[in-house]
Symmetry: C2
């Protein structure tokens, strides 16, 4: 029977086992540009392995989804972290799961607010990019290099993600 | 006497001597996620030098400016490239200049459109982050590490940047 999961607002604490929330806080780490700009410094754990791997910047353009959303598959990248920076003010879904014996356990579904990106840590189960509005345009900072960096798991019974 | 510079739309060809325009084109390099997402792959030349340097993701929150804009200073980073990804749909100014005997020559001012980010190549003269609307929120992919990675040049006579 399909299990229903409710979204929750994305927060550092809840997301910490899976990755980094990329957002500004109240106080910048540095004030630069003659006081006109705050720098929130070094927010993501970029973690790449494998010979010749390097960090790259790509753009993803994904079709918007809506709630309720059927989660049929999750994936992970054994060779590298992967960060998603929305290039709009729109929210998106970020779905993660703990690993249980090489498969995703029960997923957690988060909905972002404007100004939040995420960085999935290396080898963390996550759903594919799921913007909630068009255009689903993101900058992606991930591993460029050879090697098999994608593992997928298809659920026998999909999950249904519903709003909070 | 103050020299006036007109903005031009940001384009790959005009920007190529200074850096990379980070934007999607008509045809993705790869189609992923069961056909629902296009990947525009590896768009930025990330170029870091110096022992122990690594790539990081930071967020910048800058005050919005408006045109006409007075350009008093340009800077460059001798140890690394620096990419700016807007987290809104708003345009921003990106001002670059060729190097002439260790100083910026006549600047070029570009105005972005939605969906464009930039990556300044290492040691290219550029203006500070100048969003044209609030919030001036950007993800910045640049060098994390020790060393003096900032050189500033203040113009004796500022430039005045006006709209196209």
């Amino acid at each position: 029977m399909t299990q229903t999961l409710r979204t929750q607002p994305l927060s550092h604490d809840a997301f910490a086992p899976f990755g980094d929330v990329l957002e500004i806080g109240d106080t910048p780490d540095m004030i630069i540009n003659q006081g006109l700009c705050g720098r929130f410094h070094d927010l993501a754990k970029i973690d790449l392995i494998g010979d010749g791997a390097r960090t790259g910047i790509s753009l993803f353009n994904a079709q918007a989804r809506s709630l309720p959303y059927t989660l049929e598959m999750m994936e992970r990248h054994p060779l590298g972290s992967q960060a998603f920076i929305p290039m709009t003010a729109h929210p998106f879904l970020t779905i993660v799961a703990p690993d249980v014996n090489g498969k995703p356990g029960t997923p957690l579904a988060f909905q972002t607010k404007h100004g939040q990106g995420v960085n999935y840590h290396r080898n963390i189960w996550h759903g594919v990019l799921t913007p909630l509005a068009e255009p689903g345009l993101f900058a992606v900072i991930d591993r460029i290099g050879d090697g098999n960096n994608l593992e997928e798991h298809w659920f026998e019974t999909p999950y249904l993600i519903i709003g909070a």
